[in-house]
């Protein structure tokens, strides 16, 4: 059980925040390229999912999994995108991502007038609070992975 990493994208596709906890294999490209690749994939999945769906959807794309990890996706109505990779034992991280949005991001970033919107975050407070929140999750324990 573990959390690998977390991305936050704004509505324009720039990566506001990235952090990793237990990531054994790096992508082998620059972080900037990785963010673009990730956002491009999310963008395509969203449009794919909405076109292929046989019914009208409420939430749309939620997650995907491979043999080794699961990617959890949460998008707010304002277009902020929260992406978290965990191992396969974490079946649903929606509440976690929602909590990060409403209790950490909104309180520490949006309500701080000194943090400019739509720019990469360098709020130390947000970083440390997020880190301790992730570490306190019941499914965070890199040793067991």
């Amino acid at each position: 059980m573990t959390v690998h990493n977390l991305y936050i994208f704004d509505r324009n596709g720039s990566c506001l925040f990235y952090s990793e906890w237990n990531r054994k294999k790096q992508a082998g490209i620059s972080k900037d390229e990785e963010f673009k690749l990730m956002y491009g994939m999310l963008f395509s999945i969203r449009s794919f999912v909405s076109k292929m769906s046989p019914q009208d959807m409420k939430d749309g794309f939620l997650s995907f999994q491979t043999s080794k990890y699961r990617l959890h996706y949460y998008e707010t109505a304002s277009g902020l995108k929260f992406v978290m990779n965990t191992d396969l034992s974490v079946s649903n991280a929606r509440d976690t991502l929602q909590h990060i949005y409403s209790n950490l991001y909104v309180d520490l970033v949006v309500k701080n007038p000194l943090v400019p919107s739509c720019q990469p975050l360098d709020s130390e407070l947000f970083g440390t609070r997020l880190d301790s929140f992730i570490r306190s999750l019941p499914y965070y324990s890199p040793r067991a992975a």
Binding site: R11, G40, T76, A77, S78, Y101
Partner: protein
Amino acid sequence: MSRQSNRTTDSKKMNSELFTLTYGALVTQLCKDYENDEEVNKQLDKMGYNIGVRLIEDFLARSSIGRCQDFRETADVIAKVAFKMYLGITPSVTNWSPGGDEFSLILENNPLADFVELPDNHSTLIYSNLLCGVLRGALEMVQMAVDVKFSQDSLRGDNVTEIRMKFIKRIEENLPAGEE
């Protein structure tokens, strides 16, 4: 419509008079700083816009409301949830245009203008114009371009206070430039 929010911290409520008086002080200062009412209206709208683009995040996080399917639903959420949450009032939604792209919010009592009487030399001042900016900014962040203006204002002698909202277009989400 408004599901139980999962936040527990925000139980503190502020005295609304403090808000009203602070707003009054802001408008007073703007009237001193700028020559004419038009400019004051513009500044209020601009400030409101900057508030709105941030306030929408607070609103979405607190109300857990998702994307609205149409403009009617948007109107309902604005009147019944948002105005209630931030100003403690529920304006009525009326005067729909036949195409469903325009409506009015009727404010029985405008909390921003509780203690206000406009002097004669400020007849073109739109006292609560901040609200227009807030609505415009917040809706822009959920991909809706909307025109917002006061069409009636009880401060200026009308019977009611009416905010007219006109849907302009849906803002499409684009892939960022430089993406292949």
